[in-house]
């Protein structure tokens, strides 16, 4: 049930009607009142005309997951009206545009239905079809502001920032706000009990999406070559990189750029470009999604075997095949872990929120170059495209990129001979030479069988020696990857284990279970291969609830495969309907398991 600073607003609109800026205005205003917010966008694979929703969760407790209820529905889309009406929590509110009559059949008496003649008011006050549509969105923000007691001065301040040099737009937007606000105040008891009260909980925080943060992370990591093929939901990552590069990587005097973004003809080419650029010494990356990984797989295997760095951001979406391109899932864990034909395995990083999308970007480049192998950062649509409140991003000015074992011209000059795939240091990582540096560093990069010296071979023993050495490197990677977030609340026999965007819902679920006197320990893995601490964590428990967002328990499979985890202990909690996971689902599933006799 909604309470002060604990309320969920869902806005149902039609795609392409410009509601995003209105919804953003409302979300930002609440944030500026010092109250934590979560913004989730549920949108169709469409440019214009299909239903879309934006959900704002006001969470004084600072949870980051999607909520499992809707307290206030703004039903602006006749097409989905019945569905939207049904979704409102008993005791909740529904706001609709009363310009046109609503079918008497579509009613509920356990909620408050508020009709506001939004279209009528906007037609009377504004000229031009486009302006009227846009202002209707701003007007419903006014209605919600009245119901929830959102500070109008803050809204005005935000409009002033947005339209800094367009005074007339500030004025017309404020007029639209007042249309909704004043109407609501006049006709309904405002504010409602579950209103918003100012807090001091957003200081030192920002609201950002994961793709923007990852794009910024690539700039800070020193990436210079980005190649990509547009695909939802990863496109905005390269858009962000492009915008930040335009700001930071163009010489103001000469206009010359210190970055190169290539829109490839397909994902096969995108990863080829990344490998070519990395081979030649540039930090290079590609953002993509599941279908792109499928196309890149041959080259990813090449990168693994020829030992070339590459950074791939996979913003996962619902699969298989084209699946539901605008819905979220964690469904590419196995396809990324073992991408390509042949014996390959790849280092994966699992950011849990935009903050980690930023901080893991330089880590991904460091690992790719240190380990000389493709490294994939697996976020998802929920992290990549939704608005998350996270602590302000920080940068350590002492950071020095780890370019790995690269021989300089001087190194090569002193060497008698350079051999590309020799394990000199016993860590499974050979030394690399870059083209254009020294003739002694020249070697022939190939995906065909090669010896430790780099020469072509069809000799069984020489081939196998290289393949086995790659396993030594894999174990080195295991010691390097970020440690899991492990929390022991007390001595418990049961625990939750999750990854990525499962973090927010699971942490909230832990609190809810705790409130029912069920205390569980917690492990959020941050990388593949799994660390020894993860293995140890599983061994310490009788039951580990593995919470993930796919049908086939892919994380569980990886745990069994990579660290030989006892499969009898690993109980799956699987969520794969395409919507972001919520705590309620996790709690219900775990309670059901406990009821069946599983340890708690």
């Amino acid at each position: 049930m909604a309470a002060v600073n604990d309320v969920v607003i869902k806005i149902a609109t039609v795609n392409g009607t410009g509601s995003a800026s209105a919804n953003g205005l409302l979300r930002k205003a609440i944030f500026r009142m010092g109250v934590p917010v979560v913004g989730k966008n549920y949108f169709p694979s469409n440019i214009q005309g299909l239903p879309t929703w934006y959900e704002i969760r006001v969470t004084g407790d600072g949870y980051s997951a999607r909520s499992d209820r809707v307290d206030i529905m703004v039903a602006m889309n006749a097409q989905t009206y019945a569905q939207d009406l049904a979704e409102v929590e008993p005791g909740g509110f529904l706001i609709y545009d009363s310009t046109w009559p609503r079918s008497a059949l579509l009613n509920r008496d356990d909620i408050t239905i508020i009709g506001v003649p939004l279209s009528k008011m906007c037609i009377e006050h504004f000229d031009g079809a486009r302006a009227r549509i846009l202002m209707k969105n701003i007007a419903y923000v006014g209605v919600i502001a009245a119901l929830l007691d959102v500070d109008l001065e803050i809204i005005k301040g935000l409009l002033e920032e947005t339209f800094a040099d367009k005074a007339h737009l500030i004025q017309s937007n404020m007029e639209a706000i007042h249309l909704g606000y004043d109407y609501a105040v006049a006709k309904f008891p405002c504010p409602i009990p579950a209103k918003i009260e100012k807090l001091d909980k957003t200081k030192g925080h920002i609201v950002i999406d994961g793709n923007t943060a990852a794009g910024l992370g690539c700039v800070y990591a020193g990436a210079t070559v980005g190649a990509w093929y547009p695909i939802t939901p990863s496109t905005s990552l390269m858009d962000a990189f492009r915008d930040f590069c335009a700001r930071y990587r163009v010489d103001p005097e000469t206009g010359k750029r210190t970055y190169c973004i290539i829109q490839a003809e397909d994902e096969l080419a995108a990863i080829g470009m990344v490998l070519g650029a990395s081979w030649n010494g540039a930090r290079s990356f590609t953002p993509t999604s599941g279908p792109g990984i499928s196309l890149m797989s041959e080259f990813i295997g090449f990168g693994y075997y020829a030992e070339i760095p590459a950074v791939i951001f996979n913003v996962q979406r619902v699969g298989p095949s084209t699946g539901m391109p605008t819905r979220t899932q964690q469904c590419d864990l196995i396809s990324c872990a073992y991408a390509s034909h042949g014996d390959t395995k790849h280092v994966l990083l699992f950011p849990a929120d935009p903050s980690e999308c930023f901080s893991m970007a330089p880590i991904a480049f460091d690992f790719a170059e240190r380990l000389q192998t493709p490294v994939m950062v697996l976020s998802d649509l929920d992290i990549g495209m939704n608005d998350w409140m996270v602590p302000e991003l920080e940068w350590d000015d002492d950071y020095v990129p780890d370019r790995g074992k690269v021989c300089s011209a001087e190194d090569l000059e002193e060497m008698e001979s350079f051999y590309r795939y020799l394990d000199v240091d016993g860590d499974g990582i050979p030394y690399r030479s870059l083209p254009g540096v020294h003739p002694k560093g020249a070697y022939f990069t190939r995906g065909s069988g090669h010896t430790k010296y780099g020469g072509y071979t069809e000799d069984s023993a020489a081939y196998q020696e290289v393949l086995d050495r790659l396993l030594v490197k894999w174990e080195t990677a295991r010691t390097m990857v970020p440690e899991a977030d492990i929390r022991y609340s007390q001595f418990n026999k049961a625990a939750i284990l999750t990854l990525g965007s499962g973090d927010g819902p699971c942490i909230e679920a832990l609190d809810r279970l705790e409130a029912q006197n069920i205390g569980l320990n917690y492990c959020r893995v941050k990388a593949f291969p799994f660390t020894d601490a993860v293995k140890d964590f599983i061994e310490k428990h009788d039951v580990v609830y593995v919470v993930e967002q796919n049908r086939d328990a892919q994380l569980r499979t990886l745990l069994i495969n990579d660290i030989d985890a006892d499969q009898d202990k690993l109980v799956s909690v699987l969520h794969y309907d395409g919507m972001p996971l919520n705590a309620g689902f996790v709690v219900d599933q775990i309670l059901a398991e406990i009821k069946k006799g599983r340890a708690a």
Partner: protein, 351 residues
């Protein structure tokens, strides 16, 4: 193939280039292709070309995909980095490599299967970007490593060793490149080193995408009676339309050329190529003329060779993108990150 390794000793009388290197210094591993393979002649022409151009071996990148042709980068300039990538993907790897370091010379060696079937998309898009590279297609009309299937460049009516003649339209890399706006387009024959070496030199020095389509017969699977990619067929139907003389900036133009038959083209880097026109009416700067001529001669059963189109005006990829002159892979990190203070400032927009 030969099993006898050549000794790496240069005879004192071997000529040396400006770097003091001989052609032996530009050789590679011993070829493992069939004896008489056209590709080995292309390799020899490549060695001659880079030797004569005084290219520092380590500033050369040899790129390839998969197939007989794609093995050849191993057979020249061992002191250059080579990249034998996956089938049909050489153009993308070269695009990335070039993006990272624009100062190197990129020679891609591909085949008709690699470029016109599995890699057709990448071939086409490298041209669109006007990637600065020399792109050689060793064109023999068949798949060799998988034992003799037709490739997409096989002519209608060409007979395989066994089975029925090809009935599908061939893809002509030269006409394709012409329609896509490639800026240097040549065709030659592996059996004509005299023509091939200067064409390759021009292609290397050209700033932008330079295609050299080399008819390079497959002695094992496509050199028989009835094949239109055999040595004898190519020799019989060979139409030499334009030859190229490559003039380094330091050299004077000594040869005398007849008016209307010679045409100097000044390259970006200051070099000049002289086009010797064997057909006086041919204008290699006109795309439309080149198209018509190629089509007419093809219909007459001829294989037109020479530098068929050249456009020095169009900017190559880095110029189009306004990229900095320093190789992107060599920029100091200090120049690439905006720092913590700026990060603080930037985040105002997310509050």
């Amino acid at each position: 193939m030969t099993y006898i390794a050549k000794p790496k000793v240069a005879h004192p009388s071997l000529p040396r280039n400006e770097l003091g290197l001989t052609t032996r210094d530009y050789e590679g591993a011993v070829s493992t292709l069939c004896a008489g393979c056209g590709h080995d002649s292309v390799t020899a022409a490549l060695i001659q070309a880079v030797f004569e151009l005084d290219i520092e071996p380590h500033m050369l990148a040899k790129m390839s995909g998969i197939g007989c042709s794609s093995k050849t980068p191993a057979y020249f300039v061992s002191q250059a980095h080579g990249f034998n990538s996956v089938h049909g993907r050489m153009p993308s790897v070269t695009t990335g490599a070039n993006a990272a370091n624009r100062h190197m010379t990129y020679i891609g060696v591909s085949g008709d299967g690699d470029s016109l079937s599995i890699g057709a998309g990448q071939f086409v898009h490298a041209i669109r970007r006007n990637l600065n590279m020399c792109y050689i297609i060793e064109n023999n009309g068949v798949y060799g490593l998988t034992k003799g299937q037709f490739s997409a460049s096989a002519d209608i009516g060409s007979l395989p060793k066994k089975g029925l003649p090809n009935q599908q339209e061939p893809i002509d890399p030269v006409s394709t490149a012409l329609s896509l706006g490639a800026t240097y387009i040549a065709r030659s024959f592996s059996g004509d080193k005299e023509q091939l070496v200067p064409l390759i030199k021009g292609a290397i020095m050209h700033s932008g995408f330079a295609l050299v389509d080399v008819i390079s017969p497959c002695v094992t699977f496509n050199d028989h009676e009835g094949s239109t990619k055999s040595y004898s067929h190519t020799r019989e139907h060979y139409n030499h339309v334009i030859d190229v003389d490559y003039i380094q900036p330091s050299e004077e133009i000594k040869a005398s050329y007849k008016q209307g038959e010679a045409m100097p083209v000044h390259l970006h880097g200051g070099d000049t190529i002289i086009l010797r026109k064997l057909d006086r009416d041919y204008d290699p700067t006109s795309r439309a003329d080149a198209f018509k001529y190629l089509r007419d001669r093809f219909n007459a059963g001829e294989i037109t060779t020479g530098l068929l189109y050249v456009n020095e005006a169009r900017e190559e990829m880095h110029e189009l993108m306004q990229n900095t002159d320093t190789p992107l892979g060599q920029l100091p990190y200090e120049d690439l990150h905006p720092g913590s203070e700026e990060l603080q400032k930037l985040q105002g927009r997310y509050r």
